[in-house]
Chain length 476, copies 2
């Protein structure tokens, strides 16, 4: 266990804050509710961004940039939208030394400033679909800030698309949800449930919201990404119309979808342990850390020479050689375990003489995760081991999630289940039952999974007949 | 000349606005002073960002992210800094539905919010240097907005570094100025003067500001990037100290340096012509556009087959095949000339039969810039021609700048010179002479170039002895 790190089992929330700060992912800013993303955390975000951006471009999207400021009157064009976001707005009332005639909201999301542009750009069915994504900062005033999870300002991407038909819009919404799920599972090693949100949890102004939901290391849920179906509501509010091939003027069907720096919080909470972070190899800013070990000057140069050769052979991987003086190997081991580098290579004079090195897996700490590997095989073995770590992290997260996902038969078992993890249970669809659960357990409906049993059942709350199983959980 | 495009010589400013909008680089936002960067313009920014980011990382810098909001009291810690930026601030007075106890500025630049973090992170000389860059949006209230050149919100990067010694800080400032100059000249094909700013033009709070200055197509100057020397002033204001190897507590030496989306305006204004944009091949989002030409269905499939082969051979280049129906080849030629794609490939049925294609250079419009190339040599010839275009754009810009840079002998010749371009002239260093030039000609001192004649001269304004030549120009 890392020195000074609160054990996860003792106080998960405290463990989380300590890991994020000690691993130098982020720090509290001297501005209320805001965070500073430090270079190591930002490098992780850059890797997330690069992977997602590639997937967005492969699915036909382009990036653009829209203004930070949104006149309040724009937000008011869609009634539910402004109602949902008003309590969270940061408002600019003065600019250039004068009080403004109309106050400007700092964007909490960009539908209301993108809508008028789409209305201007889209004339004909030939202009459709419009498939645009934006990487940006957004602001939602936060009373109980937590690094990455809830901060007044955060970074995200928001896709905004406009289509000629409902079918195309719906296909887009599912496509992007699949992109998110693929990214979460294959890159971040985080298994997710895909599903629709209940009306209560739907994005303000959307006809439907879909999400991917992941289980954190304490059994709570985190919404990792969302995809929204606006039907034609926003197109009506912002007058986004097109002339169809038959000459008719129609409203577009629009969508939006987003993933934020919150996702970094999920990576920390899914994979970390009592020693600190564990980063999935496919997203880790440093995939392999090499710690050379020496006592005297002669050994030093022989070891460093071997290290340079290893580094060259690991071309294409992100490798860090920690050759700092004045720090012991043990100190370095602890530090890189805290910071979650997936694989460590240790090499000392005797290893050099024996033409070998030690590989130490971060996901299997201690002796059990160590392997002595001949230098001749090292490059292959490192790559193989990184793949194995990636798979192992996913399997461990999935096993944990399965072990904490119950299908309770009655309400008593249900309340026990949501105290520990996810409860997959029948729900009649009634807002009253949803509210009762929230009031009594603080759990909410995370999603209505796409995969449903063939037959119906009885609502876990009221016992009336129910057509859908939903996932209840306490959520971040 | 593109249809509906005002000729440059007739009204440069109007030409600029039309090109930026018609080429779909950017559009005015429905928010005062703000712009929307459209996908084509944003793709250009992404290329700029990627090139710079690589150079920043090669010189040892890491990216991070600091908060958008800066408490006004932070800005006030450095007197000149707050005085310089106060008139341009956007101010958040309400958050989360309540009036704030302390108003927050939307960052006009981030020294004042980064300073307190560096004060927290830096303890010992071992923590130095800190070499961090941030890609972000910033806001400076703008009364006379122009797309890319002056907008209330713009995108930029800002490097912020802290060093143990004056010498290291000064080396950093010059290193980054060199990075900018190298980028401008070798990637954007824009020749620049490197030099120091006069006190009047120095960044608020800086001990010295250095810049690269470019000449636009109308002879005016544009400051393309800056690098600031803060000495120990900001370190004193924000208490950024370190314990040196001798145990003494010392203040750091800090710097900052930045380049913004304004640079896109420079690319437009340096290279464009009466047909529209001309993008330098090394930054162009679309380097090669292929326009297949056919009349009947049979020809179409033969031509498209040849086009697919060409596209495959141009692997590694950014190629767009414009196979849109319902648009004539002539329409497409005009459109891609307007949008500045450096090289066009035209291919029709007779070309396919003759195993050839036509290359048309954007920088040499009309027959003179066309070349018939055998398909067997096409890939090499395209790459060679793109290089030739890159070089030609740079040479043309340099020749233009040289032809408009005068070394006037007297004040009358000087005023003529700054009406047309740059005047390189002796300056006594007096603020009164600088002010007189500004009042009478609107020209300002763009920079005091590093390269200076061996002997001194006489001030172009007052005739007193002068030790430095400076570049005067009217500026964007």
């Amino acid at each position: 266990m890392a020195e000074g790190l609160t054990p996860r089992g003792q106080d998960f929330s405290r463990w989380y804050n300590e890991v994020v700060r000690k691993a130098q992912l982020a720090d509290y800013a001297p501005v209320r509710g805001c965070m500073v993303i430090r270079p190591y955390g930002y490098a992780l975000w850059e890797n997330i961004r690069e992977e997602l951006d590639e997937r967005f471009k492969e699915t036909g999207h382009e990036n653009a940039y829209f203004p930070l400021f949104i006149p309040i009157s724009f937000l008011e064009k869609e009634a539910e939208h402004v109602e949902g976001f008003s309590p969270e707005l940061a408002v600019v009332t003065h600019g250039g030394g004068k009080e403004l005639e109309e106050s400007l909201a700092v964007r909490p999301t960009s539908e209301a400033v993108i809508g008028p542009m789409y209305a201007r750009w889209i004339q004909s069915y030939r202009d459709l679909p419009v498939l645009i994504n934006q990487w940006a900062n957004v602001v939602r005033w936060e009373m109980r800030p937590r690094l990455f999870l809830r901060t007044t300002e955060f970074l995200w991407q928001e896709g905004h698309t406009a289509h000629a038909t409902r079918r195309e819009a719906e296909a887009e919404i599912q496509r992007m949800l699949d992109v998110y799920a693929d990214f979460a599972e294959n890159m971040a090693a985080i298994p997710v449930f895909k599903g629709r949100k209940s009306k209560r949890e739907t994005f303000p102004g959307a006809a439907a919201t879909y999400s991917i939901e992941a289980m954190m290391g304490d059994g709570r849920a985190l919404q990792a990404a969302t995809s929204h179906d606006f039907g034609q509501d926003f197109a009506r509010a912002f007058d986004i119309t097109f002339q169809d091939a038959d000459g008719e003027l129609r409203h577009c069907w629009t969508t939006s979808w987003g993933l934020s720096t919150r996702f970094i919080g999920a990576i920390v909470m899914v994979h970390g342990d009592d020693r600190g972070l564990i980063l999935p190899p496919r997203l880790a800013p440093i995939q392999v850390v090499i710690v050379p070990i020496w006592k005297d000057e002669e050994a030093r140069s022989a070891v460093l020479e071997a290290v340079r050769k290893i580094e060259a052979e690991l071309d294409g991987l992100s490798v860090k050689v920690d050759d700092r003086e004045n720090f012991t190997p043990g100190y370095k081991f602890n530090e890189w375990e805290l910071r979650g580098a997936p694989l460590r290579i240790e090499i000392g004079p005797r290893d050099v003489a024996a033409r070998q090195a030690v590989l130490a897996r971060r996901d299997v700490p201690g002796r059990e995760g160590k392997e002595i590997v001949p230098l001749d095989n090292l490059s292959d073995e490192v790559r193989r081991t990184l793949d194995a770590i990636q798979q192992a992290l996913y399997q461990r997260a999935q096993q944990f999630r399965d072990s904490r996902t119950a299908e309770p038969e009655d309400y008593a078992a249900f309340t026990d289940a949501v105290a520990e993890g996810f409860a997959r249970a029948w729900w009649c669809g009634g807002a009253a039952c949803e509210q009762k659960v929230k009031d009594e357990t603080t759990a909410t409906i995370r999603c209505i999974p796409f995969e449903q049993p063939a037959a119906g059942g009885k609502c876990i709350v009221c016992g009336k007949s129910a057509e859908q199983q939903v996932i209840f959980a306490r959520a971040y």
